[in-house]
Symmetry: C2
């Protein structure tokens, strides 16, 4: 999976992949970003985005990312293929596929549609407000515990409300979160951070049930220099469920900077199973 | 574009297209669903969804639809290609592309990712409430006017708040809407209805500015028999903008049945231009 034809290596603080051809990448899953039965979904979204952003032909910055988690990803090598679907003057439409060789054949495990855009100055408005939350320094870090997925160790997370470990408001979770690694915030890191919220159905049911994200859609409302200014500071996330019905629930999340800037909004649809 | 090889015709109440091969369809744009400079976005989303739903190999019902409006669609013939990306026991992942022959070459004009799923009975919850609104019968229908896009004539729309023609609450638009044609509600019709809201930035700015949707993501929270029970009754939509920044705003919409059932939630990202 790492042929000598590889021309250069794209290395994120946390993701390493090798460019094996035009629109072709190879990498290996990272045990540090493991969830219960596969890679953490935010890592998958970040990997797909990173492959597109690496392409010298792309232009613009991420505006929207729609990631489908099509099937299980096993520990080991993976390949990514990217393709430009359409290029305009201000917008650029890309697709990325993550493929693994499983049981003797190549199977699509995840796919993403990434829309890039050039932003130009206009009148701007924010018509929503960040949630109330004490400063992160005043809140306890979520402790590592034996049963937790390993990816949580990559994040410094501090719950303001809706702490799944402490009961509280079952209506929403408000938490500060940042990468534990001292990395400057960029779009792949933000895409991954968008998926760090706890499944709100755990709060609603008061217990854990099997869940698996089907699709994660993230919409970005800043540019890369605005992200870089945040550095490694905490982001404030507010996540809530609107509906859970016959096997699938939604989760809508807003991600804010400490200064109250709306960075991203996301919508997930997640499979769940209850036995009642 | 309608070769004799066509095996059968898929005919919606409002969309006609010819199946020209496996995963291949041909149709023509419909002047009745025209917006200012191209087809109404909801019609485009519905056309892409309909092509996937027509395929006998698909299984399950729509769970999520992510539609990218990649470029201008001209009046005239179009082709659609669909492809299954991955099939699981409970979920089925499809892509659809709308292509037109423009200026001597085939160009991608719109693309969609459609996730289908089999829903199974589970504990269900709705943690949001429909907006307050007077019964639609007590509200005036939006009058047809000379400058309005033709697609609006296909819908019976009645504003409760945020009527762009009457001022009012600039924070959100609450409106009843249904197809004027007496059709039974189905997923393509619902996908189109999800896009009937007025661009909230018109309310925020107090004037019309050039806008163009880049991506429309819809998430469905019911099955087809639950939709069919609604028949041709009005749906209640609540749309609002959270952020507008440097050329792109978002619009999040919830679609309810008259009985208070949450049918769909959507998130759009829309290009806009201001001159300040």
């Amino acid at each position: 999976m790492r042929p000598s034809a590889a021309r250069r290596t794209r290395r994120d603080v946390t993701i390493a992949m090798t460019r094996t051809g035009e629109g072709e990448y190879a990498g290996e899953t990272d045990p540090a970003y493991w969830n219960l039965i596969g890679p953490f979904g935010g890592w998958i979204a970040a990997v797909l985005m990173l492959a597109v952003l690496d392409d010298p032909r792309r232009h613009g910055e991420p505006l929207s990312l729609s990631t489908n988690f099509a099937g299980a990803i096993e520990a080991g090598p993976y390949a990514i293929r990217t393709r430009n679907a359409r290029r305009n003057r201000s917008t650029d439409f890309w697709r990325a596929e993550l493929v693994q060789h499983q049981h003797g054949r190549d199977v699509l495990c995840a796919e993403a549609s990434l829309v890039l855009a050039h932003r130009r100055p206009t009148d701007s408005f924010v018509d929503v407000s960040p949630p109330e939350a004490p400063a992160p320094e005043t809140l306890p870090a979520v402790p590592a515990n034996a049963g937790a997925p390993s990816f949580l160790e990559k994040y410094d997370m501090r719950f303001a409300t809706g702490n799944p470990f402490a009961g509280g408001d079952p209506d929403r979770t408000v938490a500060w979160v940042r990468d534990r690694a001292p990395r400057t915030l960029d779009f792949p890191a933000l895409a991954a951070l968008c998926d760090t919220g706890f499944p709100p159905i755990f709060l609603r049911l008061g217990k854990r049930v099997p869940v698996s994200t089907v699709t994660l859609n993230a919409f970005f409302h800043v540019n890369s220099s605005e992200l870089a200014e945040i550095g490694n500071d905490f982001l404030l996330s507010e996540g809530r469920m609107r509906v859970a019905h016959n096997g699938f629930f939604d989760c809508t999340t807003t991600m804010w900077s400490r200064s109250g800037r709306l960075l991203a909004t996301t919508e997930q649809v997640v499979y769940y199973k209850t036995t009642s």
